[in-house]
Amino acid sequence: MQHYLDFEKPIVDLQQKIRELRDYSTDNVDFSSEIKKLEKKATKLRDEIFSKLSRWQRTQLARHQDRPYTLDYIEHVFTDWFEVHGDRNFRDDPALVCGFARLDGEPCAVIGHQKGRDTKSKVYRNFGMPNPEGYRKALRVMKMAEQFGLPIFCFVDTPGAFPGIGAEERGQAEAIARNLREMAALTVPVIVTITGEGGSGGALAIAVGNRVLMLQYSVYAVISPEGCAAILWSDGARGPEAAEALKLTAADIDSLGCVIDEVVPEPVGGAHTDYVLAAANLKRSLKKHLGELQALSGEELVEQRYQKFRAMTRVQE
């Protein structure tokens, strides 16, 4: 593990100790019983810490620097991937990757936010915050998928759409709005997974699906905890409190009963501790939902999706 969060530190320290003991072990010196004991302790500690994570800690996990991003899931879940670029209008947006691939042989379109890992790639990916041209590229690829009768997989992981002068000039709001309307009318299966941060309209713009899944430690909200705190208390540092109020975790949203269809389990320490297992879990869920949706006609898919979002209402009459 390259990076770790505060609450991960005790686990990381123990694992480090185990690694050291292993390195010292030779044919003459046997630490295996100590190692076993420490491993047991590490597992117990990890289970304990992860069983009572606060909403803020879960938010931090969703933003973990080592968390798998869209291109990682593409590598581990799909084959035959090729990326396509540009909105045919202004430029290519590296914060949103689009392309085509196969899921166990089945051709499909894949769309997702992409963050960077080091400073250079973070800047290149604009921290996963798309500009209007990113959303327009995504829509172009979705329409193409519809044209060729391919299912669409969307992976959501963004702090939000980029708030900049150029973004406003080129119609950030219009780009997001158009995607919402056009996605509602797609005649092919659309399966959305919130893999990390589901940040507001910038997330929703690729998240109008027949199925919406959330990874166990992902979050999804109308505003970031920091943004919410800045508005409510004029103090962005009170994010942890805002995270509690926003009820933004996968479990919270699942309990509303109408927004998401499944919480996909992650490895105990979070998806970043085991990409292969995290991807395998996700793949299983994607295949299950795709199988169910393939039984529906284009018209039925549109209607099912419409009714799903139509039912998202809590009012008193």
Partner: protein, 283 residues
């Protein structure tokens, strides 16, 4: 002991009598040009500043009176109210915020919806009320918009929404976000059925409202100098650490960048809407 002692009683009465008693609200300071103007004069001018043409925010009822034919408006879903299903609490509980807003407004929520007529042409309309929690869109607003659009679909009559909103209602978290998808999805149906949708953007229209139905009008119309945008100016300034240019995110800026079709004065709004409706419904 004091060095000076007041021997005479202080002079009162005469001074106070001279002061002119000025009741609140007789004069209004224009937010745009800072001119102090007789309030009645602004009201006579449809709440538009006579000096600088600034369009003041008006209530949903005033907007309905202004645009629809007299007596034609029939409200729907008037009794729909917000629920605090998350138990949201910041400095105040959402439940209490709803209660306070309801008491102030005498019921309803941040939008008034219904059917009516413009120069005799039937329309389904929704009008935001910015004074109700900043016109924010939660479940109630999203549901009322969706229903009025479905009404337009059912009656095959044009839909007009007058927006004035700070965006999604934070206190309803994820469900307020979902109202963006819901209100945009129904527009796909209107489009397929050939039912016209006119979006009128008034000061201010930002966030989740702009990034959903409000930007999806067959015609996007704006009142002069209205603030219209996705991210609020403060957020952008903090992100790019630069001061924003004058006129940024105003109606005129959006017109220049091709995001709205026209800017229409309040006085001309009704006639212009009627003109468009006649073309789009071939009557």
């Amino acid at each position: 002991m004091a060095w000076f002692k007041r021997k005479k009683k202080p002079l009162t009465g005469a001074v106070e009598a001279k002061k002119v008693q000025m009741p609140e609200g007789v004069w209004t300071k224009c937010k745009n040009c800072d001119e102090i103007i007789y309030t009645k004069e602004i009201e006579r001018n449809l709440n538009v500043c006579p000096k600088c043409d600034y369009h003041f925010r008006i209530s949903a009822r005033a907007r309905i009176d202004l645009v629809l034919d007299g007596g034609s408006f029939e409200e729907v879903d008037a009794g729909m109210q917000s629920v605090d299903f998350l138990g949201f609490k910041d400095s105040k509980k959402y439940k209490e915020r709803i209660k306070a807003a309801l008491a102030k407004a005498g019921g309803g929520d941040a939008i008034v919806c219904g059917t009516g007529a413009i120069e005799g042409l039937p329309v389904a309309v929704g009008v935001f009320d910015f004074s109700f929690m900043g016109g924010s869109m939660g479940s109630v607003v999203g549901e009322k918009i969706t229903r009025i659009m479905e009404k337009g679909l059912e009656l095959k009559c044009p839909v007009i929404i007058f927006s004035s909103s700070g965006g999604a209602r934070m206190q309803e978290s994820i469900l307020s976000l979902m109202q963006m998808a819901k209100t945009s999805a129904v527009l796909a149906k209107l489009k397929a059925e050939g039912v016209p949708f006119i979006s009128v953007l008034t000061d201010p229209t930002t966030g989740g409202v702009t990034a959903s139905f409000a930007m999806l009008g067959d015609i996007n119309m704006a009142e002069p100098k209205a603030l219209i945008g996705f991210a609020g100016p403060r957020v952008i300034e903090q992100t790019i650490r630069q001061q924003l240019p004058d006129g940024f995110q105003r109606s005129e800026f959006l017109l220049e960048h091709g995001m709205v079709d026209m800017i229409v004065q309040r006085q001309e709004m009704k006639a212009r809407l009627a003109q468009i409706l006649r073309i789009f419904t071939k009557s």
